[in-house]
Structure formats: C-alpha cells, structure tokens
Symmetry: D2
Subunit: 157 residues, 4 copies
C-alpha cells in the first residue's frame, strides 16, 4: 500500500476542493493518504512518502510562492526524493491563463529531485486544471490523478 | 501602417477560423494584413513583414510539424527577423491538453529569432486558446490579439 | 530485459554521437536496445518497446520538425504508449540557447501519450544537453540516461 | 531616457554579480537605472519604471520563492504594468540544470502582466545564463541584455 502525500495551497477554496477529490481517488486505489495545507508541512515530512502530489492556484503562470518556498527548502535533503512518484494540479481563472505552465513548473521541481512523473493520454494531460470552481470534468480528472498516482507509486516502491 | 503576416496550419478548420478572426482584428487596427496557410508560405516571405502571427493546432503539446518545418527552414536568414513583433494562437481538444505549451513553443521560436512578444493581462495571457470550435470568448480573444499585435508593430517599426 | 528504442535526428553528427552513448548506457543495464535515425522509423515501430528515448538537435528551442512529424503521426495509435517509459536528450550551439525547452517539448509529447518520465537529481536534470560536440561531461550524462531509463523500464514492465 | 529597475535575489553572489553587469549595460544605453535586492523592493516600486529586469538563481528549475512572492504580491495592481518592457537572467549550478525554465518562468509572469519581452538571436536567446560564477561569455551577455532592454524601453515609452 503506497503512502501518498497531497500538499496544496488555496486562497479561494478551489485548489482545496481539488485536493480532496485527488485524495478520494488515491484512497480508492487503496493508498494510505495524507492531505496537508502547505502551511502545515514541515519540509522533512516529504521524505516519508512514496508519492507527492502538489496543488497550487495559478499565480502569474507559476505555482504560488508558498509552494515554491517548500521546494526551495527541500534542497537540504536533495537526492532523497529520487525515484519517488510526483504529480500536480492547479486551479486558474481563465483558459489559457497560465495553468499548464503552473503544472509544468511543479513537475520540473519534481524532475530535478529525480522523481518520476506520468502524463495521461486522456483529459488533462499534464495534470488536472480547474477553471474557477471544480466542475464535473475536473472532479473526474482529479479522481483519476489520485488513483493513477497511487497505482504507479505502488508499482514502483 | 504595419505589415502583418498571419501563418496557420489547420486540419479541422478550427485554427483556420481563428486565423480569420485574428486577421479581422489586425485590419481593424489599420494593418496591411496577409493571411496564408503554411503550405503556401515560402520561408523568404517572412522577411517582408513587421509582425508575424502564427497559429497551430495543439499536437502533443507543441506546434504541428508543418509549422516547425517553417521555423527550421528560417535558419537560413537567422538574425533578419530581429526586432519584429511575434504572436501565437492555438486550437486544442481539451482544457489542460497542451495548448499553453504549444503557444509557448511558438513564442520560443520567435524569441530565438530576436523577435518581440507581448502578453495580455486580460483573458488568454500568452495567446488565444480555442477548446474545440471557436466560441464567443475565443472570437473576442483572437480579435484582440490581431489588434494589439498590429498596434505594437506600428509603434516599433 | 527491457526493450529500448532510441530515435534521433542529427545533421552535424553531435546528436548521433549522443545517441550512441545513450545506447551504451542502456546496454550496460542489460537492455535489448535498438538505435534508429528518425528517417528510418516507421511510426508503428514505437509500439514494440518498453522505453522510448528521443534525441534531437535544438532548433529554435524545440525538437527538429522531423522528430515532431513522428510524434504527430503517432496520433493514429494514441493511448497505446500509455505506461511506457520516455526520455530525451539534445545537442545545442549555446548555453541558454533553447536546449532545455527542446527537451521539455519532447517530454511533453511523451506525457501526452501517458508515458512515464524521470528526472535526475544530479547533472543534467531533464536530460543530457551537449553544447557543441559531446565532451566528457556529456558522455557521462548520456550513459547515465541510457542506464537509468533501461532500469526504470525494467522495473515497470 | 528610459527608467529601468533591476531586481535580483542572490545567495552565492553570482546573481548579484550578473545584476551589476546588466546595470552597466543599461547605463551604457543611457538609461536611468535602479538596482535593488528583492528584499528591499516594495512591490509598488515596480510601477515607476519603463522596464523591469529580474534576476534569480535557478532553484529547482524556477525562480526563487522570494522573487515569486514579489510577483504574487503585484496582483494588487494587475494591469498597471501593461506595455512595459521585461527581461530576465539566472545563475545555475549546471548546464541543463533548469536555467532556461527559470528564465521562462519569469518571462511568463511578465507576459501575464501584459509586458513586452524580446529574445536575442545571438548568444543566450531567452536571457543570460551563468553556470557558476559569471565568466567572460556571461559578462558580455549581461551587458547586452541591459543595453537592449533599455533601448527597447526607450523606443516604446
């Protein structure tokens, strides 16, 4: 049973709602899931999991500074996340408003840690994107992300 | 009066429709506009304009090979597009389906040519994105892109 | 024993040299490796492997049109590469010359196919980058990429 | 005479050194230049300039959280930077280590503000990248960035 950590930052509640949907998906796949606001994360917490899923609002086409701060601090154990599974999701105000670049920015942090990421050939390919509050499409995409990430972590660990 | 070239590739007709909407916007701003399918472009044509606007469907998160081929061939006059204005738009199947990375890929080709690009603080920030056939939102965004690009080219030339 | 396909495009010979170095690394890890110029690839070939490693020169910050054409054609079996392992490398003329965006462009194609990619916490994080002809650093990075990709494919298949 | 603000974050001193080289270039072009550590920037300061040049170390393939915080806070006057000129530079530990994605991340923030950015057809196309301490190549690239950005701001204002 893979241990999955979901970390998010949310002001409006949209990213928080997505985080819960991702959690449900990961639990459905049988994972042992922890859901945390980034404000409640001690960076050393990241070491205890098989997979890390990070959600952020789209702020100027990149993750919120609060999320970036966590990654910057993680340099102290650089190399220790090698081979773990990573995934990302975001909520944004507009289509074409910087949501994919936000997700790619998070995935880049993960790749630089030596982590493993997977796309999805259906739907939101890099990771779920909500335009405003999560609708039915987003609910489905978030569930799938949680499920797939947990399954991949299970296979790899 | 700025000379603007709009080049596009389209299979389904969605990107072609966007190209016409961009053309209307550029004409509204008083530009002398040429609209061409990439198949009808001789790469030397790119030299005769103040601005270049490129539209492509989103194919695997990047511009269609037909558009990339045009940029690859443009290496023969590398440096000659320096200081011209560039912009991009795309049509895609899904939100989060690779549309922003397609636009960024086109803008990167332009930056490497030394061209000048501008974002928009409203709407589709990097360039217009249509999910399926252009709807009212996309019509507006395409018109604005044409208009703004023509105005910037006029200011800079 | 994982089956690994390395596909590359090369004009100057630099990317071809990198491809051979990646091949050596993958063989060292015990993989069954096939090395092909993109011109010799029938797109259906991609289906018969556990891992796909793609190399391209950096042309205007993105993969060569010849490589993009292969990905565009692969849409005919979209979904069939789901869960396979992907990786990328590039040769470029300059530091800061578009090499990382070229690699990211290739990885984005792979993610949209539902493939799995891994970064490296040491060295060239997204994939090996050669500035001009491969030097000792690049030789090492290419070998490591081949080895790691084969190992991951072995674990996942 | 264009007013240019250079904002940077630096731990090792490499990005600080680059900032001074950019400043020299902008002054050579006749600009009125202000150089500030991000810690000393009140976000409202950004409003008083024709051009904004931002430098950051490459931390996990994206700008430092301190720089991102400044952009996040700038949302309070969103729209007011529309039409100003932007540029970026970074120092990194490795070739292929996330330097281009860091610069692109900064330029994306600027595009979303409606700002204008220009590439360079020579050298470091998206913006100067230093691998370790700035060498002669980087000194030249930084000077050119400062000069070109000041000239473009002068033309546009």
């Amino acid at each position: 049973m893979a241990k999955v950590l979901i970390v998010y930052y949310s002001e409006s509640g949209n990213t928080a709602k997505m985080a819960q949907l991702v959690e449900e998906g990961a639990k459905k796949a049988g994972a042992d899931v922890t859901l945390k606001k980034v404000q409640d994360v001690n960076v050393d917490d990241l070491l205890g999991y098989d997979a890390l899923i990070v959600g952020s609002p789209t702020y100027y086409g990149q993750m919120a500074a609060e999320i970036k701060k966590m990654f910057d601090e993680s340099v102290k154990f650089h190399g220790k996340l090698e081979g773990k599974v990573g995934a990302a999701f975001t909520s944004a105000a507009n289509i074409g408003g910087g949501n994919e670049t936000t997700i790619q920015g998070i995935l880049e942090c993960m790749l630089i840690h030596g982590m493993i990421v997977q796309g999805n050939h259906q739907g939101d390919h890099y990771g779920p994107v909500s335009i405003g509050a999560p609708d039915e499409r987003v609910e489905k995409q978030c569930g799938i992300l949680g499920e797939r990430t947990a399954q991949l972590a299970d296979k790899i660990k």
